[in-house]
Symmetry: C2
Subunit: 225 residues, 2 copies
DNA sequence: TTTATAATAATAGTAATACTATTATAAATA
DNA sequence: TATTTATAATAGTATTACTATTATTATAAA
């Protein structure tokens, strides 16, 4: 049995639904590969078109510009991750164990699930680590937010905040702690590989240590509230 | 008495020292203003040249490209902040109090010190909040790091990590906690104003609450180690 | 004082980027 | 078969991110 993760995307993110045609799917697939390879700054629709074997204008029929494509991919990732979290913590009752599992899912590099979609989740995870913040660190963040482009991120944050509150109902900053966990799961990873002296894991480069750090950070906070 | 903060900058960051001429100083001054106004993506050397009343090529004589200018400004900011921290915690002996003071300095919006330099520190602080990560979230981060472009950031992180270790010698993640404090002082601020549901301060929008959150996060971690 | 030389500035480009408008082709329906 | 309609390909343009060349000014040696 093949499990198709069909993630319903905000229609304002695209001009034409990329899931609706082969070309659209190729834009997502090769888009992920090319952004991962060149970085978002050097990534252009022209290069992507050459990769796919179509024209620049062909891609512009699907996405208004490359920023929208990045926001689309980020939204897809957050929605996908929330699904993973819901699915993989479904049978866990103890909120503490659930939170630990979530930290694991956030901080562990993803293995691509070739079965499920044309998007390589492993590459996308790495893109989100190094490019993800650029989706919202812009002047248009207010506009984009009004159009609910960041809803998947907020939903995920909200899910985590709820579990934090289950663990410690008196803890005063569940949302901020949730966004801190999410951001730091990625930033500590980026730092570990690129600016190692900003972390305590620069030598060994083990993701498990980031997880240990986050667990320590979160659970001492929750214990003492 | 006028205190001139002369920050010695890495020479590889510029082609000509912008501190060495009026045009150079104008590039920094108006650069900060324009990046703040338009955001880094829409910022161009052409617009900056028009603002100053010089030509595009005139600016290219000082900075190779706009990325280098951003890295310069970020480096300047981190060096300036480290100076502020050293200066303002100089007479404080208790490391706990020093750390509290540092969290304050990181999370509180800066008031421009018009006396000291052509750079508006208040605007620059806001730029670092929304654009600062883009200085290192690039494909060239490795190259840039080899040229020590991020030394001021790392130095600041190191100073904070040392104080953390003074507070709790047994705490296992001083560097990662330091980079977490720095990043979260900024991200929680950005979220509070732009994606408020990612924080617990969306309603009131008070910086003091970010400080309270960070203090809680840090000192419960240190107490329990 | 004149002239060489070096530093700086202004002009005028170019290749690439980020799009858009128009035309052509294929598919679906009347 | 004719006619919409959808999609794709072609060919543009304005802007961006630079660079090369020429002009000007300042400094120093003859």
């Amino acid at each position: 049995m093949k499990l198709q993760v069909q993630i319903e995307m905000n229609e304002a993110l695209f001009l034409r639904n990329p899931e609706s045609s082969e070309l659209g799917k190729n834009i997502l697939k090769h888009g992920v590969q090319l952004i991962h390879k060149t970085g978002f700054e050097a990534f252009t629709f022209k290069k992507l078109a050459e990769d796919i074997g179509t024209t620049e204008a062909g891609i512009y029929r699907y996405f208004e510009n490359k920023h929208k494509l990045l926001v689309y991919l980020a939204a897809w990732y957050w929605a996908w991750l929330e699904f993973q979290i819901i699915f993989q913590t479904n049978n866990i009752k103890d909120p503490t164990k659930r939170l630990k599992k979530i930290i694991n899912l956030l901080a562990k590099s993803v293995e691509d699930d070739e079965q499920t979609s044309h998007i390589n989740e492993s590459l996308l995870h790495q893109i989100i680590i190094s490019e993800g913040s650029k989706a919202y660190l812009t002047k248009q963040v207010g506009e984009d937010n009004k159009q609910h482009f960041f809803k998947p991120y907020k939903d995920l944050c909200s899910v985590i905040a709820c579990i934090i509150s289950e663990c410690s109902p008196k803890y005063k900053y569940p949302k901020s702690l949730a966004s801190t966990i999410i951001e730091m799961a990625h930033f500590q990873n980026f730092f570990m590989y690129n600016l190692p002296s900003l972390t305590d894991f620069g030598k060994s480069k083990e993701e498990s240590k980031i997880i240990a750090f986050l667990n320590d950070l979160v659970f001492t906070s929750l214990k003492n509230s």
